[in-house]
């Protein structure tokens, strides 16, 4: 596939050859790219959701989780059928065309860069658990009050570290995720299992559910925050072009991620409400899991330092996922003519898209800088627009699933989302329809309940649309129409590049049959 895209681009730039991304992500690596992002989100969201949903926190997570299942199944089908960098942006390009692809890509770029800024900041905050003086440090710089320069320096250092790690290679970056991901999975499981087995009281849980049920508006607000717990599924798709045997690996890693993340997201609030009151967890929005762990027998005395290490590492690997995701996404947008070709340069030695890593890590660093200089409200803004970006992209991706079933029914799919309805010659995915409705409802709710998302989200998309128009005009490409591409030929090249010969042969034979008939 890349070869065709290169050929298309090289025809314009005059280059003859181009270095490809390297396939080095294993099945565990693929799972960890998703888990790293999602696991951290649950860790951060628990306190925030509980503050709004109170005794019905598991319900808020369950409702958000239902939409996540739809989106997850849609992504699993598309990521295993089209294993290339770009994720939702690439699916939208093939299914809906260039403009939708840009909208989806812009939403994802927003989510990924905010992910890096937010989680690098939070990770540094957890490291400072061991250095209380650093946490309390604050100075006034001109009009900016209480700026914690040391914490800011730590955050920028972490972003720089992740950028270097990602430039060095996907193997190093993935190994980093795999190791810390395994550690976090063990620690989170320990908290849940010990919590349920030795501290959970079902009567206390039911008492809080019955007496502390929130208002409808509060529940709706909580659901929009709970949604961020499930953001990150995209990362598996972004790493698809560097995954070994992607059409075999991705359905497994994605489905495992859907099941496990849902389990963790439902288990944490359920176990919490059976051990402590919701107000206590809500008050500790910075470290809800640490606080929960401190109430557990046997491991309670270790809870503080262990949870700090857990928080710091899981947030750092989530930020790492953001660096990888943003860089691969921008690489794909450049390869598919939505942005300048200059961005898709792959370093000849490290085989990573070095320019996109530097640029989007830089944007994340600027977002962190803005957050530190603007005080707490800016951090809230980052959280709000994070959910906006992700939901916008998920909505377009669900529409893409429906469009691809209609436009490319002959493309072999290693995994097909269940529940399909036959309309004429087309097999319409009910999951895609429900996912589109669910994510659209979430998007409307986010814009209704989060003031900053309503303003900054559309502005961000408008900025990228302006960049897109500038690029397309400069290269004499249509703005509202899509550039022509032989997708069947490209699909054969994608499958040949992955070495997934079963799907390759199925498509080749189907194309032969179609050409024979025509």
């Amino acid at each position: 596939m890349i070869a065709l895209l290169y050929a298309r681009r090289n025809a314009m730039s005059g280059h003859e050859t181009k270095v490809k991304l390297r396939r080095e992500v294993s099945v565990w690596g693929s799972f960890c790219w998703g888990y790293a992002d999602v696991g951290a989100d649950v860790y951060v969201a628990l306190g925030l959701v509980m503050a709004a949903a109170q005794g019905a926190t598991p319900l808020a997570f369950a409702i958000a989780g239902t939409v996540y299942i739809f989106v997850g199944l849609a992504y699993t089908e598309m990521a295993s059928a089209y294993p290339v960098a770009g994720g939702g942006q690439y699916f939208a390009l093939r299914g809906l065309g260039d403009v939708w692809s840009l909208i989806c890509g812009a939403g994802l770029l927003l989510a990924y860069t905010v992910d890096v800024a937010l989680f690098a900041t939070a990770s540094a905050g957890y490291i400072n658990f061991f250095f209380p003086a650093v946490r309390e440090f604050a100075i006034d710089i001109g009009p900016f009050k209480d700026v914690n320069l040391i914490w800011l320096a730590e955050t920028l250092f972490l972003i720089l570290l992740l950028a270097v790690l990602n430039i060095k290679g996907i193997r190093e970056s993935s190994l980093f995720n795999e190791t810390l991901g395994a550690l976090d999975l063990i620690l989170e499981t320990t908290v849940i299992v010990i919590g349920f087995a030795f501290a959970w009281r079902p009567d206390y849980f039911l008492h809080q559910w019955e007496t502390q049920f929130p208002t409808t508006e509060n529940l709706a607000y909580a659901i929009t925050i709970a949604v961020i717990s499930y953001v990150g599924l995209e990362s598996i798709s972004q790493a698809a072009q560097e995954t070994i045997r992607p059409t075999t690996v991705i359905p497994r890693s994605s489905l495992a991620l859907i099941v496990l993340v849902l389990m963790f997201a439902l288990a944490f609030p359920t176990v919490s409400l059976g051990i402590v009151d919701w107000q206590t967890i809500a008050k500790r929005e910075g470290d809800p899991i640490a606080h929960l762990a401190s109430h557990l027998p046997f491991i309670g005395f270790l809870a503080g330092p262990a949870a700090a290490i857990l928080g710091a590492t899981i947030l750092l690997i989530s930020a790492n996922t953001g660096v990888m995701g943003a860089s691969r996404l921008a690489y794909s947008m450049s390869e598919t003519n939505l942005m300048g070709a200059w961005l898709s340069h792959v370093h000849p030695k490290f085989r990573t898209p070095v320019r996109t890593i530097v640029i989007f890590s830089g944007i994340a660093a600027l977002q962190a800088l803005w957050a530190f200089f603007s005080g707490r409200r800016a951090m809230d803004t980052l959280v709000d627009i994070y959910a906006f970006g992700a939901m916008l992209a998920y909505f377009v991706s669900c529409l893409s699933l429906i469009a691809l079933r209609i436009k490319e029914p002959h493309t072999p799919r290693a995994f097909k989302a269940p529940l399909n309805v036959r309309l004429g010659n087309h097999e319409i995915p009910v999951i895609g329809v429900l996912g589109a409705l669910g994510t659209f409802a979430m998007l409307v709710t986010i814009m209704w309940t989060h003031h900053s998302a309503r303003i900054f989200g559309p502005i961000w998309v408008a900025i990228w649309f302006a960049v897109y128009i500038w690029h397309r005009r400069r290269n004499g490409l249509p703005i509202f129409r899509s550039t022509k591409c032989n997708w069947d030929e490209e699909q054969l090249k994608i499958l040949s590049d992955t070495g997934e010969w079963e799907l390759y042969e199925r498509l080749r034979i189907e194309l032969e049959r179609r050409s024979k008939r025509s």
């Binding site: 565990w28 400072n128 959970w200 027998p297 010969w501 390759y504």
Partner: protein, 197 residues
């Protein structure tokens, strides 16, 4: 993040059966899901994939028949070949029309009757295997030309042809057809040559 107070950590052990059950279930599901995820099937080499899918790609099998044992056997063989991947059968009876007559000139009723009977018998074999079968009587100057017509009209992927080469006797109609067909095959051709009795 707030520091954790050690006094907070001193919690009482409360072990409720439901909680224990949930904890055990959590571990079991986690273990099963991770085990399933990590145990990938073996990759298929390109040559193997090509062989497997080129056979699986056969969706329509054309079977020319006569009211003879070996052509019914060819239908049975085609059913078994196509059953695994839900292929359809196209059962054709070719009537060779002499060159002196036009292709659409009326045929003697006994020929039409024989053709229908042969096709019905063949269809019953397909029904036994629960395979969808289409029947057709095709007029052509020569049998191999009729087969080519059917392959083109029905988008056939394979032709299964039964024949019998009798010792010390001139080649039968089917043997001649096979020879002509193999010289320029319209698609994949499988010949089932039944030994002479």
């Amino acid at each position: 993040m707030h520091g954790t107070n050690v006094s907070e950590a001193a919690s009482v052990v409360v072990s409720h059966p439901l909680g224990v059950a949930i904890a055990i279930l959590f571990i079991i599901i986690l273990g099963v899901v991770l085990f399933w995820m990590l145990h990938l099937p073996q990759p298929m080499p390109q040559e193997v994939a090509r062989a497997v899918y080129s056979v699986e790609a056969i969706r329509k099998i054309v079977v020319p028949i006569l009211d003879l044992y070996y052509s019914e056997r060819a239908v049975e063989l085609a059913c078994r070949l196509g059953k695994l991947h839900n292929a359809e059968l196209v059962l054709i009876y070719i009537v060779e029309v002499p060159r002196l007559l036009t292709l659409d000139s009326p045929l003697p009723s006994n020929i039409e009757g024989r053709a229908k009977m042969a096709l019905e018998g063949a269809k019953r074999i397909a029904e036994r295997h629960a395979i969808k079968a289409t029947t057709d009587i095709i007029r052509a100057r020569e049998a191999n030309e009729g087969i080519r017509k059917a392959v083109q009209a029905y988008h056939g992927d394979m032709v299964v042809l039964g024949m019998q080469l009798a010792k010390d006797r001139p080649p039968t109609l089917f043997a001649r057809t096979v020879e002509a067909l193999l010289r320029q095959p319209p698609c994949e051709v499988v010949i089932d040559s039944v030994p002479a009795a």
